[in-house]
Symmetry: C2
Subunit: 113 residues, 2 copies
C-alpha cells in the first residue's frame, strides 16, 4: 500500500476519517484494503489519503476530497460498495466514520505553524 502524506491544496476541502478495529485473521482484508486505497486515489475529486494501523489493531485512514459530492460518489462506487459490505460482515469489529470539512491546514517542522 502507498503510505505517506496526502498532498492536499489550501482548504477548504473534505476529510473522511475512518477509524476501525480489525477482526482477527486476514480473510482477504489486506488485498482489498490495498485495492480500495488505490481506487480511492483514482476517484474524481479525491485529493489523497493517509493511513496507519498499529499493532493493537486500531487503524485510521483519512481520505481527502474536493467537496461533498465527491465524497458521496466515492461512497456509491460499485467496488467500494462491495468492500463496505465485506467490511461489515467480516473485517471490522467496530468502526467510526466521520465526514469533516477541513478549514485550516499546516505543515511542519519547516512549515507554517
Amino acid at each position: 500500500m502507498h503510505t505517506g502524506f496526502a498532498r492536499t491544496p489550501e482548504p477548504p476541502y473534505y476529510a473522511v476519517i475512518f477509524t476501525s478495529r480489525r477482526t482477527e485473521g486476514d480473510d482477504g482484508y489486506a488485498a482489498m484494503a490495498d485495492a480500495m486505497f488505490e481506487l480511492a486515489l483514482q476517484q474524481p475529486g479525491c485529493l489523497g489519503a493517509e493511513s496507519a494501523r498499529g499493532a493493537d489493531g486500531i487503524g485510521i485512514t483519512v481520505s481527502y476530497f474536493t467537496d461533498e459530492r465527491s465524497v458521496a460518489e466515492w461512497k456509491q462506487n460499485a467496488s467500494h460498495l462491495v468492500a463496505q459490505r465485506l467490511g461489515k460482515e467480516r473485517w471490522y469489529e467496530h468502526y467510526e466514520l466521520r465526514i469533516a470539512k477541513v478549514e485550516r491546514a499546516y505543515s511542519g517542522p519547516e512549515g507554517r505553524l
Copy 2:
C-alpha cells in the same frame, strides 16, 4: 497509551487531524506522546482522541473538540507548547496538521450506515 475509539456526540464538533512521520529512535518521544494524549483528554472541550502508528513510521492522531475555541486553547496549553517545540526539533521528520469541522458521523458494523 489509551487506544480505542473516541465517544463523540452528534456532530457538529471539531477534529484535529495530525499525520506525522517519526524520526528514528525514541529520544523521549513515547513518554511525551503518552503524556500529551492523556493531557489532551483532560483539556476542557476535548471529546476524545484516536491514534494509530504503523511499522512504517507514519502515524495519525485525531483529537476531537467541542468547538474552535477549545482547539485554540489546547494549542496554547503550556505543556503542549513544550511538546510542540520538541516535536519540531527532534521527533517529526514531517507532519501535516488539519483542523476540520465534523458534519456527519456513523458507526458500524451495527450502526447507522
